[in-house]
């Protein structure tokens, strides 16, 4: 059994995907950052249209963009987020396999894949974290049931 085999039979919709922030196109970078901080999210999806009605995904803005395009560029905070986001991000459907998602991330060198269903609903962000969670659940004896501090561990097996 390899991880590949495990992940081929696991759907993205069955993974614990990450959350995200959401702002409308045209939102200033400063306000986008404030929203991400308030939501405690590292990914913000930029959408077109009214939040209540159907929205269309137009871009993705992540903590990496903050590092590369915002932090040391003067005046950028007051520009619209559209200028620093990655437009038309690659997305994945909830019925794709986890292995497909991982391959898509590797091939395109992206760390976050928005999960979007057929009707365009934004369901979450597929990231490496989902695979880590999957492994913890799949192999609880090996992964979860470990000493809290590996330095404090009995050298010899004993009861209790």
């Amino acid at each position: 059994m390899t991880l590949q085999n495990d992940l081929k039979s696991e759907l993205v919709s069955h993974l614990v995907v990450s959350g995200f922030s959401q702002v409308a196109a045209g939102t200033p970078v400063r306000d986008t950052l404030a929203r991400m901080r308030a939501d405690r999210q590292v990914v913000c999806l930029v959408v077109d249209g009214d939040e209540a009605a159907a929205v269309r995904l137009v871009g993705i803005f992540t903590e990496r963009d903050v590092m590369r395009k915002v932090i040391d560029v003067p005046g950028m905070l007051d520009r619209p987020v559209d200028e620093v986001m990655t437009p038309d991000p690659i997305t994945i459907g909830p019925d794709a396999s986890a292995a497909d998602a991982l391959r898509l991330m590797d091939e395109n060198h992206v760390r976050n894949l928005p999960v979007v269903d057929r009707s365009g609903r934004l369901l979450g962000i597929m990231a490496h974290q989902a695979i880590i969670q999957f492994l913890a659940d799949r192999y609880p004896v090996e992964v979860l049931n470990r000493p809290i501090d590996p330095e404090q561990f009995p050298r010899k097996a004993e009861g209790g």
Partner: protein, 517 residues
């Protein structure tokens, strides 16, 4: 049970970890429960010094040693009795009772019933592994009929107790169930258990990796657990299955599993955590005849014992004034025991001094045999998780930055190397902190005017969790899955950083490993 937050200081998981060596077998489900407890306690907002863990005897009962709170490792089965006394003496405390299926339902079954019946403000957590682990594998009061153990070589002939039904029989005001192998669910249910005022009873299905390792396989296997578990949510339909295509319907008094393709949603039961009869029905649903009900089965509010009793004390004091203990003593019948005039000298039997020289019998040999038995059908991948070390990930040499560096210089370095995480070191190149992209987003971008004027130590996470590179990959996965850490710094024995391991490194390595075979 709940106690008002009294401390302004924000606690973290580390505050609840004691300095004691954990003596559970490698792979024991207790580790997972301990980790989740240490994770949720800071979020309940209760101060460490107001938190107490009381246990009886058994593997699970070692819990208080590992929590950096007050704790009592008490008498077999008597934890609920001690806890009741403590809850009455000091109503401000948040008291957890940690027990197991043997300690709680056999030796201390009586105490457990009465603590629940009285609705004492306690959080009672029962680790159910359906075996006596500490005494090396005898059948317990929850073992299923036919279970072959050392004390039931031809299979147990006893009808087991159902812990949920026992708690409901004592009219528990909060009854819940979770499982060690599902950490998100366990954490959420532990929080609910802590919140409830009055006696909270939580049963946790827990894996005894040595003496009963296959008890919960169908419920813990990630691939089909959703077909075996009914996750309860108050006010929601009882729907389950990996594809959420099955439901629970009531046929007369009997619940039955139905396919949603054939039955209207209206016919499917809706969970109501305030309904006493429904709680009984859910408690009676035993796996594998039914999916195992997980979550909060019952949650109602009733006056708790401590509050009721203190109200009576106050009423009595208002009517008759505060009492006087000495007067109470002296008011009783008193008599004096006279010394005998010709007291005979009693002969004191000397303690057998040869006890020390008795040979130590091979009590542990059986157990060590069990431990050393080759693990059952461990897949190559499982083997990889525990035998590959973090060094084999060939982690990048960490980019380090001196602790006196400015924010501007730190961020320039990160961008130059195109990395999301730097390690902060002191004059002797020892790791003192970690600084990541999230810190930039969370504490710097748009919040700090002059990056050159700020020192990195004010923005980094000081004293982060670190690992040594000779530890197995599973250890990194453990911390990443429990805490969501995306980067883990590696250090050598003298605290010098040697590498950084990220989510991506771990997943990438595991994804490629075994591929060439």
């Amino acid at each position: 049970m709940s106690t008002a937050a009294t401390e302004e200081i924000t606690l973290t998981r580390k505050d609840f970890i004691s300095d004691q060596t954990v003596r559970w077998c490698p792979g024991c489900g207790d580790y997972s429960i301990l980790a989740q407890m240490q994770r949720i306690l800071p979020e309940t907002g209760v101060a460490k010094e107001k938190t107490v863990f009381i246990s009886g005897i058994g593997c699970s009962s070692r819990f208080p040693y590992y929590m950096n709170t007050y704790g009592i490792h008490s008498i077999h089965g008597r934890a609920p009795a001690l806890a009741t006394g403590l809850a009455i003496a000091n109503p401000e405390l948040s008291i957890w009772v940690i027990t197991g299926d043997g300690d709680g339902l056999s030796i201390g079954g009586n105490h457990l019933l009465h603590a629940i019946r009285r609705n004492v403000n306690l959080n009672i957590v029962l680790f159910n592994n359906r075996i006596y682990g500490l005494t090396k594998g005898q059948y317990s009061p929850t073992s299923r009929p036919g279970t072959v153990t050392k004390s039931s070589p031809m299979g147990s002939v006893e009808q087991p107790l159902n812990p949920i039904a026992v708690a409901l029989a004592a009219e528990a005001t909060f009854v819940a169930r979770s499982i060690d192998s599902h950490p998100q669910h366990l954490a959420a249910i532990l929080e609910r258990t802590a919140e409830h005022q009055g006696a909270s009873f939580l049963e946790i299905y827990q894996n005894c990796v040595i003496f009963n390792p296959n008890e919960w396989t169908e419920l813990s296997d990630r691939r089909n657990r959703d077909d075996s578990i009914l996750y309860l949510e108050h006010g929601k339909h009882m729907i389950f299955g990996k594809n959420r295509d099955k439901g629970i319907r009531l046929n007369g008094f009997t619940p039955e599993v139905v396919s949603l393709d054939e039955v209207d949603l209206d016919e499917v039961l809706v969970h109501d955590a305030t309904s006493r009869p429904l709680a009984s029905i859910l408690g009676s649903m035993e796996f594998p005849d039914y999916p195992a009900a997980m979550g909060v089965i019952r949650d109602v509010r009733k006056p708790d014992y401590g509050g009721e009793m203190m109200a009576q004390v106050e009423t009595a004091q208002a009517q008759r004034g505060a009492g006087d203990l000495n007067q109470l003593y002296l008011a009783a019948d008193l008599w004096t025991v006279e010394e005998r005039e010709e007291a005979e000298e009693r002969e004191i039997t000397p303690v057998a001094s040869d006890l020390d020289e008795m040979p130590i019998t091979g009590l542990d040999e059986e157990y060590i045999d069990e431990m050393e038995k080759p693990a059952e059908a461990l897949s190559e991948f499982q083997d990889l998780l525990v035998t590959s070390t973090l060094a084999e990930l060939e982690p990048n040499v960490p980019i380090t930055i001196g602790k006196r560096s400015s924010l501007a210089r730190t961020i320039r370095q990160m961008n130059r190397h195109n990395i999301g995480c730097v390690v902060v070191t002191d004059e002797e190149d020892r790791l003192v902190g970690i600084f990541t992209e999230w810190d930039v987003l969370n504490r710097v971008a748009g919040l700090v005017d002059d990056l050159a004027q700020q020192t990195i130590t004010d923005y980094m996470t000081p004293d982060p969790l670190t690992l040594k590179s000779d530890l197995p990959i599973a250890q990194a996965l453990n911390l990443m899955s429990i805490h969501g850490f995306r980067h883990l710094p590696l250090v050598d024995d003298s605290g010098h950083p040697t590498g950084i391991v990220s989510f991506r490194d771990v997943v990438g390595y595991l994804n490629e490993a075994l591929e060439e075979d």
